[in-house]
C-alpha cells in the first residue's frame, strides 16, 4: 500500500537556518531518509518551495494561471514523501519519525490507482 505524506510547518515557529537546532534537525532528516531506504519503503521524496507556487485552472476551457496559493494558510506545505508500507499504522509510525510532527503536521493520503515505482 502506497501513501503520500504531506509535511507542513508553521512559518512563525520554524527553526532558523544557521542555528545549532537547525543543523541538528537537518542531521535528523538525513538519518530518517537513510532509515527509510534501508527499510525498503522509500518510493520518493522532495522538499518544496512554498513561496513560488503556481496554480492552473481551466474552468471554461481556457487555462487560467495564477500566482500562489500564498502562504496565507497557517500551515505551509514544504515537503512530501511517498512510501510503500503494509498498512495505515505503519504509515503513521513513519510519519511520527519526521521532525515535522513537532512543529507542524503530517497528513497521510492513501494512494489510489497508479502505483509509483
Amino acid at each position: 500500500m502506497q501513501y503520500l505524506l504531506l509535511l507542513t510547518y508553521r512559518p512563525e515557529d520554524n527553526t532558523q537556518e544557521g542555528t545549532p537546532e537547525f543543523d541538528a534537525e537537518m542531521k535528523r532528516w538525513g538519518e530518517l531518509n537513510e532509515e527509510m531506504r534501508q527499510a525498503g519503503i522509500w518510493v520518493g521524496a522532495a522538499g518544496l518551495k512554498p513561496d513560488a507556487t503556481t496554480t492552473v485552472r481551466a474552468p471554461s476551457g481556457e487555462p487560467v494561471v495564477t500566482d500562489g496559493p500564498y502562504a496565507e494558510t497557517k500551515e505551509v506545505l514544504f515537503s512530501f514523501y511517498v512510501i510503500d508500507v503494509e498498512d495505515l499504522d505503519a504509515a503513521i509510525a513513519w510519519a511520527e519519525k519526521t521532525p515535522a510532527v513537532k512543529y507542524g503536521s503530517v497528513t497521510i493520503y492513501p494512494m489510489d490507482g497508479l502505483e509509483l515505482t
Partner: protein, 400 residues
C-alpha cells in the same frame, strides 16, 4: 423472535468479524456482503427451512458473495450464473472458532482506530461490534437515519481505503490504542447516561463485558467495566418520575441495583489484584465507595479524597480537581476544599467554567462565607446551561 432475528442479534457480529478478516480488513465490502447474506436468509430460510447452524450458513453465504463481488470487479458482468446457485454448507468456510475471539477483538480495535473521527468510532462500534441497526444508532445520537448511514459508510470507506489494519495492535501500540477503545465504550455509556437511556447504557456494558472477556488481564479494561456497572446500578434512582435528574446526595439508595453494585465491586477487586491501576480503576474505586455508603453522610470521604488525589495525578483535567476539592471539603472541611480550588482560580481560561463556580459556591456556603457564596452562586446560575442545573443550584444555595 424469529430464527432470523435471533441470528441477527447473536451471530451478526461474529459473521462480520470472520468475513472482515478473510477480506484482509475490507470492512466496507464485508459489511455489504454480510447484509446481503441476511437478505438471502430472509428468502431462503422461509423457503427451505432454517439451517442447522445459522451462523455457518451466513458466513458461507457472505463469503461466496464477497468472492462473487471481487470476481465481478475483475470481469465485468460475467459469472451471473454463480449467483443463482443454491448455498450448501461448506465445512471449509465454517467459523474458525479458535480465531473468532481474535477477530472480534480486531474488529473492536479497527472500529476504534484513532484515525477515525470520535463520533464515527462510536457509531461503527455500535454497528459492527454491538450489532445495533442503523435506526437504533441514529436514535442514540439524535441523528437522522440518512445522516447516520452516511457517517457509517464514510467510516467504513476510510477503513478500507486508508488500509487500517484488521488486527490487535502490537505491544508497543497497545496502550494508546486500548485507551481509544476504552474511551469509545465510555463515551457510548455517557451518551445514554446523560439522557438516562438505559438501552444505550446496556450496550456500553455489553461491549465492556466483551472486552473484559477478551482481555481479562488488562486492569483498565476491568476498571472500565466495574465503573460502568457501579454507575449504572444507580440508574433507577438518578431520575425522578417527572424527568428531573437527582444528585447522588439526594438519591433514594434503596432503589440502587444491589446485584449490579456487587458485580461491579467483584470486577474492581480483580482489577486491583492485577496492580498497575489507571484512571478507570481509580474512578471505579471512587464509585464503589459511594455505593457502599448507606447514606450520603456516612460516605468514606477521606478515602475518596485520597483516590481523587491519585486520579488528579493521572488526569490533570479541571473536572478532576473540582471533584477532588469537593471530596476534600467533606473529608477535611470546606476551607481545605477551597484551597484546592484556588489552584484553578488562577487560570483565566476557567473564568466561565460553570462547574468551578458551582463547587466554589457550595464550599463557601459551608465555610460560612455568606457574601462570597452569594456572588459565586450568582455566577454559577448565570453560566448554567439547563433549567435543571439552575434549579439544583438554587436549592443548594437556599439550604442551611
Amino acid at each position: 423472535m424469529s430464527a432470523l432475528e435471533r441470528a441477527y442479534r447473536d451471530e451478526r457480529a461474529a459473521v462480520l468479524a470472520t468475513i472482515t478478516r478473510r477480506l484482509d480488513g475490507d470492512l466496507a465490502l464485508a459489511e455489504d456482503v454480510v447484509q446481503d447474506a441476511f437478505l438471502a436468509a430472509a428468502v431462503e430460510w422461509d423457503r427451505r427451512g432454517v439451517p442447522d447452524r445459522p451462523g455457518a450458513w451466513l458466513t458461507t453465504t457472505a463469503w461466496r458473495k464477497a468472492l462473487d463481488r471481487r470476481r465481478r470487479e475483475r470481469v465485468a458482468d460475467a459469472h451471473a450464473a454463480d449467483l443463482a446457485q443454491p448455498v450448501s454448507y461448506d465445512a471449509d468456510l465454517d467459523f474458525e472458532r479458535s480465531s473468532l475471539e481474535d477477530d472480534q477483538l480486531a474488529m473492536l480495535f479497527t472500529c476504534c482506530h484513532p484515525a477515525l473521527a470520535p463520533e464515527a468510532r462510536m457509531a461503527l462500534t455500535l454497528r459492527s461490534v454491538a450489532g445495533l441497526t442503523v435506526p437504533e444508532i441514529a436514535r442514540a445520537f439524535l441523528s437522522s437515519e440518512d445522516a447516520m448511514e452516511r457517517r457509517l459508510t464514510r467510516a467504513r470507506r476510510k477503513v478500507t481505503d486508508a488500509a487500517i489494519a484488521f488486527c490487535v495492535p502490537p505491544d508497543e501500540r497497545l496502550p494508546e490504542r486500548l485507551a481509544s477503545v476504552l474511551r469509545v465504550i465510555y463515551l457510548i455509556y455517557t451518551e445514554g447516561h446523560g439522557d438516562v437511556r438505559g438501552d444505550i447504557c446496556e450496550e456500553a456494558i455489553r461491549l465492556a463485558r466483551l472486552l473484559a472477556r477478551l482481555m481479562p488481564d488488562e486492569p483498565e479494561v476491568l476498571g472500565l467495566l466495574a465503573l460502568l456497572l457501579v454507575s449504572d446500578a444507580r440508574r433507577a434512582a438518578r431520575v425522578r418520575d417527572d424527568g428531573v435528574l437527582v444528585s447522588l446526595e439526594e438519591q433514594d439508595r434503596s432503589r440502587w441495583d444491589a446485584a449490579r453494585i456487587a458485580e461491579g465491586a467483584a470486577v474492581l477487586e480483580r482489577a486491583l489484584r492485577l496492580g498497575r491501576s489507571g484512571p478507570y480503576v481509580v474512578q471505579a474505586a471512587i464509585a464503589a465507595l459511594h455505593s457502599r455508603a448507606p447514606t450520603w453522610e456516612a460516605t468514606d470521604w477521606p478515602q475518596i479524597a485520597g483516590l481523587y488525589a491519585e486520579l488528579a495525578r493521572l488526569d490533570r483535567s479541571p473536572v478532576v480537581t473540582i471533584n477532588r476539592a469537593v471530596a476534600v471539603g467533606f473529608a477535611a472541611g470546606a476551607q481545605a476544599g477551597l484551597a484546592i480550588l484556588d489552584e484553578l482560580q488562577a487560570d483565566p481560561r476557567l473564568d466561565r467554567y460553570q462547574p468551578l463556580h458551582a463547587a466554589r459556591a457550595e464550599l463557601l456556603r459551608r465555610a460560612g462565607d455568606a457574601d462570597a457564596a452569594a456572588a459565586a452562586y450568582a455566577t454559577a446560575v448565570a453560566l448554567a446551561d439547563s433549567e435543571a442545573q439552575r434549579t439544583a443550584l438554587e436549592r443548594s444555595r437556599d439550604r442551611r
